[in-house]
């Protein structure tokens, strides 16, 4: 199992609330209540058997009975309440921000109730995903934000069996409540190199049963090396051009539409990710993953074809015309655009180069700016950028995707930080659609509100979505079968997040 990059050695840290440095195996030791699929939002139950909203602000989970911690103590709803209160007491642990929505939690019998500040039905997925820790051990920890938790006790399918800086091993928890569904007896996490090429060699050499790695020409480099080798590269999120919407000409939707029409998205995907994924639908949905939410009235499922004539017409509406191969404004100045992205994201850089070529062909002068990843984050959060490459969506939940990406409440002034909606889009209609979706518990209302969001994305083009970022799952069926696949897409093949728990409770011995 390729799970952790050690850089180059691993440091023991099984604290499930450590934002940046916990080890991936932690997710097999601590279980959340439920896990929503990043593909379509379907819930897989773990410590809760199900959940329901008694009203759009009151979320009730039914807690599973008969579960024990790996030290033999019984697990109860009190542990769940304890965990949530712990996150309230130490905001540093609340890495998913549950207390920004929750106002109180309570238990009664085997029911756990979370009351929200405002109606937010899709937030159930975030609440459900909080890993639950045992009250009888965690109540006595002096500073849980600095706690390395080297002897983790959880309810999950595996327990820690050995730890070395180069590799740690988890062993199957024999008293796990669904032990029958856990095929592997041990899971090994070796440390990885910081060098991408070295990692690729390790993957291709057959070191792992499950690896997550982009490989060029995967059929020749991986699949052909062993009859047991298979891969699945589904789309995970959407990569797009985020224009700084506080700057002209990006304030003009006609200009943005012009840009959108000037780009051959499939060609960008071909160059950036070897064509493993396609150009992105301007619906804002990740297709085919979120197919069931797609507005049938969008032409060609929201895919926008390159159409230079229409692009020029749209630019003209925004007041820009072509002159001697250059797109100029009324004063004769050429439109200039600087696209920035982290220097080490090679697929984004390749995509940006191709995009720059295509925009150059319609007369826009495009420069690329490649800062370090941390500097890039600072620039986009404070709004000091022209156009940035970034990802949109990827949670599987249209509400969360559109809210994170576009909600006006996040649109901070320039020089005030915001991670979400850093392009600073403001649209009252979109906010209303989000509010409707947040409060909707019936599928019909949810569908209609989602369609409204998609149409805003399609018509107003707040973000020029380019192509789908892939999720690079490489598997071997030598020891286990039942990996997620195009035929059985129960989760994304991402070994570094809680998909690992979903996959490892579904594998079968080969």
């Amino acid at each position: 199992m390729q799970g952790d990059s050690g850089n180059p050695t691993l440091v023991e840290n099984f604290n499930p609330f450590s934002a940046a440095s916990e080890l991936g195996g932690t997710r097999l030791i601590y279980e959340p209540l439920e896990i929503a699929s990043p593909i379509d939002g379907t819930f897989t139950p773990f410590l809760a058997t199900d959940h329901r909203f008694t009203d759009p602000r009151t979320l009730v989970f039914t807690i599973r009975k008969g579960v024990t911690w790996s030290d033999g103590e019984p697990f109860t709803a009190a542990d769940v309440v304890f965990t949530f209160r712990l996150l309230k007491q130490y905001p540093a642990l609340d890495i998913t921000g549950v207390w920004s929505v929750i106002s109180s939690v309570a238990e009664s019998g085997n029911l756990f109730t979370a009351t929200f500040n405002t109606a937010n039905v899709p937030f159930a997925a975030t609440v459900a995903a909080v890993p639950i820790v045992p009250q009888h051990l965690w109540a006595d920890i002096a500073d849980p934000t600095r706690y390395a938790n080297t002897t983790p006790v959880g309810t999950g399918p595996f327990t820690l069996s050995s730890f070395e800086p180069t590799q740690y091993a988890l062993a199957k928890n024999p008293s796990y409540w669904q032990a029958d569904n856990v095929a592997p007896a041990t899971v090994l996490f070796p440390a990885q190199s910081t060098n991408q090429v070295t990692n690729q060699l390790n993957v291709v050499a057959g070191t792992y049963d499950w690896a997550y790695n982009y490989l060029p020409n995967v059929k020749d480099t991986y699949v052909s090396r062993d009859p047991d080798n298979i891969y699945w590269f589904p789309p995970g999120g959407t990569i797009g051009l985020f224009m700084n919407l506080t700057r002209a000409p990006y304030t003009d939707a006609n200009f943005r539409k012009g840009v959108s029409l000037a780009i051959d998205r499939d060609l960008v995907a071909q160059k950036a990710v070897n064509g493993y994924t396609t150009g992105a639908s301007m619906s804002g949905l990740v297709l085919p993953n979120q197919q069931k939410w797609l507005d049938p009235s969008l032409s060609r499922r929201g895919y926008v074809e390159q159409d230079l004539t229409a692009a020029k017409a749209s630019f003209a509406k925004a007041g820009f015309t072509e002159s001697n191969g250059r797109l100029v404004d009324g004063g004769g100045r050429q439109v200039s655009m600087t696209i920035s992205m982290p220097a080490n994201y090679s697929d984004w850089v390749t995509a940006a180069k191709e995009t720059a070529n295509q925009l150059g062909a319609v007369g826009i002068s495009v420069q690329l700016d490649l800062p370090q990843a941390a500097q890039f984050q600072t620039e986009i959060q404070t709004g000091n950028f022209d156009v940035a490459m970034n990802s949109f969506a990827g949670t599987g939940l249209p509400y969360t995707d559109f809210r994170n990406g576009l909600a006006s409440s996040f649109a901070a002034p320039i020089n005030t930080r915001t991670v979400n909606n850093f392009e600073r889009y403001k649209n009252r209609t979109l906010d209303q659609a989000l509010a409707t979706l947040a409060a909707a518990t019936d599928e019909q209302t949810q569908r209609e509100a989602t369609y409204r969001l998609e149409r805003i994305m399609y018509e107003q083009v707040p973000i020029v979505l380019l192509y789908y970022g892939g999720s690079w799952g490489l598997f071997s069926t030598r020891h286990f079968t039942g990996w997620p696949s195009a035929e059985n897409p129960y989760t994304l093949p991402t070994s570094y997040n809680n998909s690992i728990l979903v996959v490892l409770t579904r594998l079968k011995k080969a």
């Binding site: 050690g6 850089n7 180059p8 050695t9 440091v11 023991e12 840290n13 604290n15 450590s18 934002a19 940046a20 440095s21 905001p91 540093a92 642990l93 609340d94 890495i95 998913t96 921000g97 920004s100 934000t145 600095r146 390395a148 050995s162 070395e164 800086p165 180069t166 440390a191 990885q192 190199s193 910081t194 060098n195 090429v197 070295t198 060699l201 390790n202 291709v204 999120g237 982290p342 800062p371 370090q372 990843a373 941390a374 500097q375 890039f376 984050q377 600072t378 959060q381 990802s391 969506a393 990827g394 949670t395 969360t400 994170n404 996040f410 991670v419 979400n420 991402t494 570094y496 997040n497």
Partner: protein
Amino acid sequence: MRYFTRRVVLFLITLWAAVTLNFILPRLMPGSPADAALARLASTGQPITNAQRDAIQAQLGGANGNIVGQYFDYLGNIFTLQWGRSYSYATETVAHSVGRALPWTLILVGVTTIVAFVIGTLMGVYAGWRRGRAADATVTVGATFLASFPPFWLGLLLLYLFAFQLNWFPITGGYSAGTAPEWTWSFLVNAFEHSVLPAITLAVTSLSGWVFGMRNNMINTLGEDYVTFGQANGLRGRTIATLYAARNALLPNVTAFGLSLGAVVGGSVLVEGIFGYPGIGNLLYTAVTNQDYPLMQALFLVITVSMLVAIFVVDLLYARLDPRVRVGPEGS
């Protein structure tokens, strides 16, 4: 004695300047530790949120205090080796991280530096002695050829051929996954197998510098009168080459050797990165990409101090090797 005092004072002033720069430079980097952590999360493709940034900022804590206060804390902590907690490895102290990585780099880079110096110098002596002949041409052309290999490229090539295709050596790490460092024969063999390819990469690419330096010094020295005098007195060629010419030609190379021993502690970021070697170079890479100020400070401190100590020692050593330095111009 005056020479010695002057050196010590200069050493202390340089040390203070280096230590201060070491504090300032990481903080001039664009971006912030929280953004670096966030960028790392984002690079895995998962959606990131404001809530995450707030939590990460709270977990990292400290870094936002008064900059002057931070500087004096830092100066005080240097002497007590209290370097604080690393941002990248939240649960570990910086001193612990550095201590774990240091032996690996010292052995790998240290041994290869010494081996490359000895072999390169001997080859340089030989080439200089046989200047203009076939042997000289072979050594010089060979060294030029090797010098044109970038270390990371040679590393990848060796990795692909000997580790991936032929399976003679492991692909990554300082030792096999699942074993822990211990003083047993099997572990030492295992660690040795892991060090062969990075050692060859480092040695081969640094060899040619020593060869050229020594060869050119030799040629200069061989033109000196005392060499001609020795030849006229009928000394054997080998005696002249090794005992008279090489001894004097060695001086500039000793300076360079001292400096490169000081640089050993810095490791080799590229080569260690390629081979996933658990040394200082890799740790430094991690620290820089995570904007881990405490870890960066500690590493740069260790690197600059060992460099300064190396220069200091070379200065003192030089006084023994070459009395002219000690006496100074007024003595001549």
